[in-house]
């Protein structure tokens, strides 16, 4: 007997997409800080 493969519907993807968006929004300022910190001194 074979077990049915779970199918990912668009609705099933909504939750991970929302969480990813929230995480991206949180991460962007930190990444910007990281980028600013690796720039050589005097670079705008």
């Amino acid at each position: 007997m074979t077990t049915p493969t779970p199918v990912r519907t668009v609705r099933g993807l909504a939750a991970p997409v929302v969480l990813t968006l929230f995480c991206a929004a949180v991460l962007v300022p930190f990444l910007s800080l990281l980028l600013a910190s690796v720039q050589p001194a005097g670079t705008p």
Binding site: R11, A14, A15, V18, L19, F22, C23, A25, V26, L27, V28, P29, F30, L31, S32, L33, L35, A36, P44
Partner: protein
């Protein structure tokens, strides 16, 4: 070893016994109250010295016209009349009200959605990491947060670079220097900071909700959205009240974030009561008016928190 038992002395019968008993009871109560006071004293003393007395002194100063240097002159409630009539002070109150939307309403909504999703996906790979990540802004000092976001919002900052990268360069702006966008820009920083705290509060609340309720709803055909509005939100009412209280206080008493990002500008477009109190007391030489504004702000925050708690208790 012989054990001795202590017998209480025989109590005289009649009215004398009642009087003696009453005296002993009163003495016991007094001693218990004194002991309780002694336990509370280590906390009560510094609280009175550093919180209650300065607050009372501020209320006292609000009745005077004082520049902070020369002798103060008594003016009664004139400072309070000015607080309610001065257009700049009223504008600051409006800005604080707008910040409530960004510091309270938006983070609570984001916190509820993320908590509901995280609770449904608990145990799955990555959920714990997401939880930690969303809470991260809360552990960064507000001064550092303000400096980070100044870089993000700068003319050549991350936000404008992102907009240019996706072909939306015409929308790029000097966000913190714009009369239109500076207040929402500062407010969104508040949303970024507070949303994680709300999520953690709501996540702890979701642990309390019986899973059978969700299962029953699913058997009745409820989807995730219906579950969210009909089960998660109503059952998280106590946590929502706590989050609302914390965030409304943060919005109305905001100072450091705005002081570092915009300083109240451009013009007065991001001036809030906290900034105005600082400006009036330490820059404008109007200590009395600043004190009156501080007293009014304290009263408004206290009333707001009381109303939120009352509504949370009374709601069905």
């Amino acid at each position: 070893m012989a054990l001795t038992t202590h017998h209480p002395p025989p109590v005289p019968p009649g009215p004398a016994r009642t009087r003696a008993g009453r005296h002993a009871g009163a003495r016991r109560r007094r001693r218990r109250r004194a002991t309780a006071l002694l336990y509370v004293l280590p906390a009560l003393l510094p609280y009175t010295l550093f919180a209650v007395l300065p607050a009372l002194h501020t209320a006292y100063l609000s009745l005077f016209d004082w520049d902070g240097v020369t002798l103060p002159s008594f003016t009664g409630f004139a400072n309070y009349r000015k607080v309610f009539s001065d257009p700049q002070l009223r504008a600051a109150a409006w800005h604080a009200g707008a910040l409530v939307l960004f510091f309270s309403v938006l983070p609570i909504f984001i916190g509820l959605v993320s908590a509901a999703i995280a609770a449904r996906r608990s145990g799955r790979r990555g959920t714990a990491a997401v939880r930690t990540l969303l809470f991260l802004p809360q552990v960064v000092p507000l001064v550092a947060v303000a400096i980070i976001w100044r870089w993000v919002y700068a003319e050549d900052g991350t936000l404008n670079q992102l907009l240019r990268a996706v072909g939306l360069g015409r929308f790029a702006d000097s966000w913190l220097g714009s009369f239109t966008w500076s207040l929402p820009a500062v407010g969104l920083i508040g949303t970024w900071v507070v949303a994680g705290l709300c999520m953690v509060l709501f996540l702890s609340g979701t642990q309390r909700i019986d899973q059978e309720i969700y299962e029953a709803a699913r058997m009745d055909g409820a989807g995730p959205v219906r579950e969210f509005w009909s089960i998660t939100v109503p059952l998280l009412r106590p946590e929502i009240a706590v989050a609302l209280s914390i965030t409304v206080i943060a919005a109305l008493s905001s100072f450091d974030l705005i002081y570092i990002t915009t300083g109240g500008g451009p013009g007065n477009s991001t001036v809030v009561p906290g900034i105005l109190i600082y400006r009036l007391a330490f820059g404008g030489g109007q200590v009395g008016l600043a004190s009156a504004l501080a007293v009014v702000l304290t009263a408004v925050i206290s009333i707001a928190v009381l109303v939120i708690n009352r509504l949370a208790r009374e709601a069905p």
